[in-house]
Amino acid sequence: MSANTVIDVQDLRVRVGAARIVNDVSFKVERGQTLGIVGESGSGKSMTVLAATGLIDAPSAKVSGTSMLDGQNLIGLRRSKLEKIYGERIGFIFQDPATSLNPVLTLERQLTEGPEAHLGITRRAARRRALDLLEAVGIPDPEPRLAAYPHQLSGGMKQRVMIAVALACDPALLIADEPTTALDVTTQAQIISLVRSLQERLGMGVVWISHDLGVISGVAEEVSVLYGGQVVEHTAITDIFNNPLHPYTQGLLRARPYLGGAQEELVTIPGSPPDPKNLPKGCVFYDRCPVRLDSRCETELPPLTDVGDGHLVRSFCATSGGENVRNAWEGTRV
């Protein structure tokens, strides 16, 4: 693990009863870098980061693998130690600010509590910090806002305050789980540019989860594509757009309209994602794949293979399917 690695997750698995939600997911995040995780609903995006940060503690959920941060494995770590780590090292922002803002505390309290406890600074210093943070997240004239409660803010404002709270202790790692999904595009653009500029200033590592490759294109340096709880492809952000290898990634890119996209017909991936209680034996995408090969795709789980320059892909079609695999969806329709 290099000195710059903020979090290193290996072989993460999550099972809830018979459902295999996360299957053998590994990733690393470096200081100042953003890893994008994309996938559709049910692909295991949120469960991956919740498990990696030790946040899944339901007795029915079984988590295995390692997730190293500051030399400690977060998986299976005692609650009290985890809480200290959340306070000092990891910030979270979610789609719904209601889940991380406390409705009965003023903004001042929410913004000063962490720093007072974890950075050992005085209340006055914490208050000054809170004002700086609110300003940094684009809340003009923050002084009178300190006494406000979350319900007195608009959706976009709440999102900003949540970011301020997440950053209050200068975290090494920021987990952003669909933080802009519920927002309008104009607010989304504000939040994206805000997180990027704060990241430049503070050098934190970010894991940004989204179902929208467009958003990921604006925030991430590297991206993992999740499907059926597995990483099916991982590579540099430019590569995902210019040279996607997994038929699922290609389909995802062509199923979505883009601005000025000049598409007459979107690719439609037939069927729907697999049921985690009943994952296929071989390739997770087998049922829906337009270029699946032979019985091997059906019966054997393809390994996540490096095809060069750290471009990883989990697909027999992509690693041994020849040229036609670059255009898996050519000629398919509805």
């Binding site: 559709e40 609903s41 684009g138 608009s154 959706g155 976009g156 404002m157 309008d184 595009v185 104009t186 607010t187 989304q188 653009a189 504000q190 994206i192 540019s193 179902h211 929208d212 490759l213 467009g214 958003v215 294109s217 604006g218 952000i237 430019t238 757009f241 389909g251 995802l252 890119l253 199923a255 979505r256 309209p257 883009y258 601005l259 000025g260 996209g261 000049a262 598409q263 007459e264 017909e265 979107l266 690719v267 439609t268 991936i269 037939p270 729907s272 994602p273 509805v334």
Partner: protein, 339 residues
């Protein structure tokens, strides 16, 4: 512009099917300051031509759903007219309203709450047939339900299923089938694909396009997703805080918008090209949408507009013609075009 895009049918010469004139919808609310008025929709006019798709975009709270609901008469307009081939449906009541209602159908965002969970799919789809007395007897009804299921590419045996046995995309197909049951001319699609996963969204958008071609349907496609609107629409209407900002044929809107708000919206959409996305020069809108209880005087966008001048607070700008079929409600069109 590619050739592919031009293969969209030109609808300029099609007859007007529905003409919305100076539509206004106000809601009376009781707040801390006593009785107040929500200016949800203010002086909106547009035509729907037969066989076209008009995209309706705007941020949350801009009044898109209120327009959709007013056209369906789920909400009563407080002003203006909604002319359906010469009849003002804004004020119709009783059986007149019922007979006109068959001609418009609506599909909502959430296919989970739109279907009765205790009712088999076939029965849900048949509802409009019963309401509008469009089928004689059970056999004819079942036959029509099978046809409708087939139209939306679902197998006939789905008629016997319950909503919970279906995926989100399948349920949305059922909602579309039900909307088609009354054989409407106009379909109002209010965020009809918004709650679906990307791959499923594409299935539904393609299905809608396909149905339009086959059945000659006219769509009002309401969405906050400008890329989806671009994909679906022939023309696009952009609104902000209850008012029309710009209305234009699609390609002109996306390439030569003449309104600062449309330009700001387009600038906010992430590009699919990470290199271009990061190097792009753009001005992001600051601040937030003002309250519809007390919209700004003059142009409602002026408080966030990068090119506003004093005059903008004085009069509500008229939608002036800036090109064929292309209108912009801005007094600084030449400056806006340079943004």
């Amino acid at each position: 512009m590619s050739e592919v895009r031009n293969s969209q049918p030109a609808n300029r010469d099609e007859p007007v099917l529905l003409s919305v004139q100076n539509l206004q919808v106000h809601f009376a609310v009781r707040g801390a300051a006593g009785k107040q008025t929500v200016h949800a929709v203010e002086d909106i006019s547009f035509d729907l031509k037969r066989g076209e798709t008009l995209g309706l975009v705007g941020e949350s709270g801009s009044g898109k759903s209120t327009i959709a609901n007013a056209l369906m008469r789920l909400e009563d307009p407080t002003g203006g007219r909604i002319m359906l081939e010469g009849i003002d449906i804004a004020t119709l009541r009783g059986s007149d309203l019922k007979s006109v209602r068959r001609r418009l159908a609506m599909v909502f965002q959430d296919p989970f709450s739109a279907l009765n969970p205790r009712q088999r799919i076939g029965l849900s789809i048949a509802e409009p047939l019963v309401v509008h007395k469009l089928a004689n007897g059970g056999a004819e009804r079942s036959k029509r339900v099978r046809e409708l299921l087939d139209l939306v590419n679902l197998p006939a045996h789905f008629a016997d299923r319950f909503p919970h046995e279906l995926s989100g995309g399948q349920r949305q197909r059922v909602c579309i089938a039900r909307a088609l049951a009354g054989d409407p001319d106009i379909m109002i699609l209010d965020e009809a694909t918004a709650s679906l996963d990307v791959s499923v969204q594409a299935q539904i958008m393609n299905l809608l396009k396909d149905l339009q071609r086959r059945l000659g349907l006219t769509y009002l496609f309401v969405s906050h997703d400008l890329a989806a609107v671009e994909y679906m629409s022939h023309r696009v209407l952009v609104m902000y805080l209850g008012r029309l900002m710009e209305i234009s044929p699609r390609d002109e809107l996306y390439t030569q918008s003449a309104h600062p708000y449309t330009r700001a919206l387009l600038a906010a959409i992430p590009l699919a090209d990470p290199v271009a996305e990061r190097s792009r020069e753009r001005t992001l809108l600051e601040g937030e949408v003002p309250s519809p209880l007390n919209p700004p005087s003059g142009c409602v966008f002026r408080t966030r507009c990068p090119i506003a001048v004093d005059e903008c607070s004085e009069v509500v700008p008229a939608a002036i013609e800036v090109g064929e079929d292309h209108n912009s409600a801005c007094i600084r069109v030449p400056v806006a075009q340079e943004l």
